[in-house]
């Protein structure tokens, strides 16, 4: 008589992650197979190695890594899984590069619901498939209750830079135009609207999206006229412009009226005492473009679904203080400074 080992199915509906799921035993293998491989399925993962081999494509490559700790894990318009795919793809794309592969690492807190883990893995699989960028290797760790907050995800990406392209943050020059790909603040407000002690009614959804398709269209239209691109995530548009001003040793002059913002987002920011310039985005980019190519790049962006609200928002200027200045819609001037501390609602 042959004894066949009984294998209890993962109780995805009611079960939760326990320490055995990170111990290297059968339970871990089952978790990886039934949740992650199921959701992220591709030829590399199917081989079951601790690493994945791939052919190196000629030319310059880029690599990036990013940790995701968003709270709440599920928010309108996305979740930590789709965000981890989009965010890392975008960091690759901001070099003008074409993302090719991703890896994913999970740190899971003991007690985390398997149903939520599956939902996150499925969302990552869908985001990766839609983007055409497979997750080809990964890692899972489980930590004791209280040592993490649900789940943290880290993704790493590699990509290939088209020949001749060398975008970098020190390349903005006075006279260059600044183009923003769409409305600001959507992601931050969507996430905040679901924070435990801040729930408010809104239809605002996160703009979380993979931008490499938009970038490819911009590279085709602008080529080497593209100086710098950056996605204004944490700290929002204000932080991105200040970083670029310092790295390129220039100033920016921005027109508030030109910066696209949804009226619901503007209203929610008013209510919370936030300045939308400092609120995070996850599907937008800022491009600094040589003046003669700005119109062509803008037209290419507007022809792409993720760039139809794109606008020239200002110019690079010579400025030894590296200030980001804004002409307010009201007609006055102000500095758009770095964010200090967390942006929190005012108290009176």
């Amino acid at each position: 008589m042959t004894l066949k080992a009984y294998k209890r199915k993962l109780d995805i509906k009611n079960g939760c992650v326990d320490l055995s799921h990170g111990s290297g035993g059968r339970a871990m293998t089952q978790l990886i197979a039934d949740i992650f491989h199921e959701a992220l399925d591709n030829a590399w993962l199917r081989r079951g190695n601790d690493q994945s081999a791939f052919e190196v494509i000629g030319g310059r490559m880029v690599m990036t890594t990013d940790g995701y700790v968003v709270s709440p894990i599920f928010f309108p318009g996305g979740d930590i899984g789709s965000l981890a795919v989009h965010g890392t793809i975008n960091d690759i794309a901001m070099a003008g590069a074409r993302p090719i592969y991703l890896s994913a690492g999970f740190i899971i807190e003991e007690g985390f619901a398997l149903a939520d883990l599956k939902r996150i893995a499925d969302s990552m699989g869908e985001a990766a498939r839609n983007a055409g960028v497979p997750i080809i290797t990964g890692d899972t760790k489980v930590v004791e209750r209280g040592k993490a907050d649900g789940v943290f995800v880290t993704t790493t990406g590699v990509g290939v830079v088209p020949d001749g392209l060398d975008l970098s943050s020190e390349k903005a020059r006075p006279g260059d135009r600044v183009i923003l790909s769409g409305t600001i603040g959507d992601h931050g407000v969507a996430v905040m609207s679901k924070r435990q002690n801040l729930t408010f009614e809104t239809d605002i959804v996160s703009d979380s999206a993979a931008l490499h398709g938009l970038v490819a269209a911009m590279v085709e239209a602008g080529g080497t006229s593209l100086r710098v691109m950056r996605d204004p995530t944490r700290g929002g548009l204000a932080a991105t412009l200040n970083e670029l001003a310092h790295q390129s040793k220039v100033g920016f002059r921005i027109a508030e009226e030109a910066v696209p913002i949804k009226s619901e987002v503007a209203a929610a920011c008013d209510l919370l005492g936030l300045d939308p310039l400092y609120v995070a985005n996850e599907g937008k980019l800022v491009a600094v473009v040589a003046p003669d190519a700005a119109e062509e790049v803008l037209a290419a962006m507007r022809a792409h679904p993720l760039g139809h609200d794109a606008a020239v928002i200002g110019d690079v200027v010579a400025d030894e203080h590296h200030f980001v200045q804004m002409t307010t819609a009201f007609g006055g001037g102000r500095i758009v400074d770095w964010l200090s501390g967390e942006q929190l609602p005012r108290i009176c």
């Binding site: 002690n197 100033g251 009226e257 200027v317 200045q325 200090s340 967390e342 929190l344 108290i347």
Partner: protein, 379 residues
């Protein structure tokens, strides 16, 4: 959600600016104090000073609750939070306000104190209900706008018989502070601060109404125009003040009629009167001890008073001697006059409270206006 664009219209702003420039007497000058931090923020955020003629100057007042909280009260809050049985609930702005010896609530939290940022008194009440083993202390601060919600929280706590909820009360009163400024030697005798009129508070006035300001117009002969926090509100109030000065009038006018009634919010005032009583004196950063300017819980609600429950001692503490927050809060100095401004004192490493809140005069000037102090970038 309807947005407030109609109160931020640049075209209307330019029309108002032209009228102010046209009516302001070029031979004279006009010095108006905006009492509230909300107005300071709007002036900086929208660049209103740029739209005013050079002889109309705005002086930032002490109406930022974070800025006027003295160092000793921050130290006391830190000591409370360091008690192992206490969970201190606070609005986020207070986290970075510097106490003595470089301390702050943010640093105390990092060192292990149970300090939680909340957005309302109701959040603090909820924590008290869900964590009955913790002594939840709400760090209550603010002018007349934030006092009614605190009063309501006390009533709810009393109704629910919560024995683990108290408040550390730092509520202060606007009229006492304005009176203190007008009676100060800087204004009265030394003439170091010239104030030709006040922009009266927006949200505070929705609660207390426009009547309490009549005293300033009559006794001190200063015009007061109560204004909303939107930039066009502020511009219109400035025009109304210029007209009062030109006509030699000293009246209380209400620009913010869409929200402020002469008698204010009677229900809110009644709630506050039921729960709170005047302190004989309360210390303000910048103004010192101001008589009858602060509130505390009445004896009947003493069980909800953290100062009484935990025997919080008065802590005598002083600002950094080089910090000019005091003079800035009285309108005697401007942020750029302070040696610390922009050198060791920035929003990342605030030395004084005016650099902390976005409504603080220093933080507002640093964030939105400091390029005016430097050579303008060639356009």
């Amino acid at each position: 959600m309807k947005h407030a664009d109609e109160y931020r219209d640049g075209r209307l702003a330019r029309a108002l600016a032209a009228r102010i420039a046209g009516e302001a007497d070029p031979a004279g000058s006009y010095h108006f104090m905006e009492f509230c931090g909300g107005h300071t923020h709007a002036i900086s955020r929208y660049g209103i000073q740029d739209l005013l003629p050079a002889n109309v100057r705005m002086i930032h007042g002490p109406g930022c609750p974070v800025c006027v909280l003295p160092v000793g009260r921050i130290d006391a809050a830190i000591r409370l939070a360091e008690r192992p049985d206490v969970t201190l609930c606070t609005y986020g702005d207070l986290m970075r306000v510097p106490g003595s010896h470089g301390g702050s609530l943010l640093k105390a939290k990092a060192a292990g104190a149970d300090i939680r940022m909340v957005y309302s008194t109701i959040d603090a009440l909820r924590i008290a209900e869900t964590e009955p083993e913790r002594q939840v202390v709400f760090f209550a601060i603010g002018f007349e706008t934030t006092t009614p919600p605190t009063a309501l929280a006390i009533k709810i706590a009393a109704a629910k018989k919560l024995t683990n909820f108290t408040i550390f009360c730092n509520h202060v009163l606007t009229p006492s502070a304005i009176q203190n400024i007008l009676e100060s030697p800087d204004v009265r005798e030394l003439g170091r601060v010239r104030i030709d009129g006040f922009i009266g508070p927006a949200h505070v006035s929705t609660v207390i109404g426009s009547e309490p300001y009549a005293f300033f117009a009559e006794e001190f002969e200063k015009p007061v125009v109560i204004a909303g926090f939107e930039p066009l509100d502020v511009m219109q109030a400035i025009l109304m003040l210029v007209r009062q000065v030109n006509d030699g009038r000293c009246e209380v006018e209400n620009q913010y009629t869409r929200a402020v009634k002469p008698g204010g919010n009677k229900r809110a005032k009644a709630e506050v009167a039921e729960i709170f009583e005047l302190r004989k004196s309360f210390e303000w950063r910048g103004l010192g001890h101001v008589p009858y300017s602060g509130l505390r819980l009445k004896e009947a609600y003493a069980e909800f008073d953290a100062e009484r429950r935990f025997a919080v001692a008065h802590i005598e503490a002083h600002d950094n001697p080089a910090c000019e927050c005091g003079a800035i809060l009285r309108g005697v100095k401007a942020p750029a006059d302070c040696k610390l401004f922009g050198t060791v004192c920035t929003p990342e490493t605030p030395m004084g409270s005016c650099m902390v809140s976005s409504e603080g005069a220093c933080a507002a000037h640093w964030t939105y206006g400091r390029f005016r102090d430097q050579a303008r970038v060639a356009s």
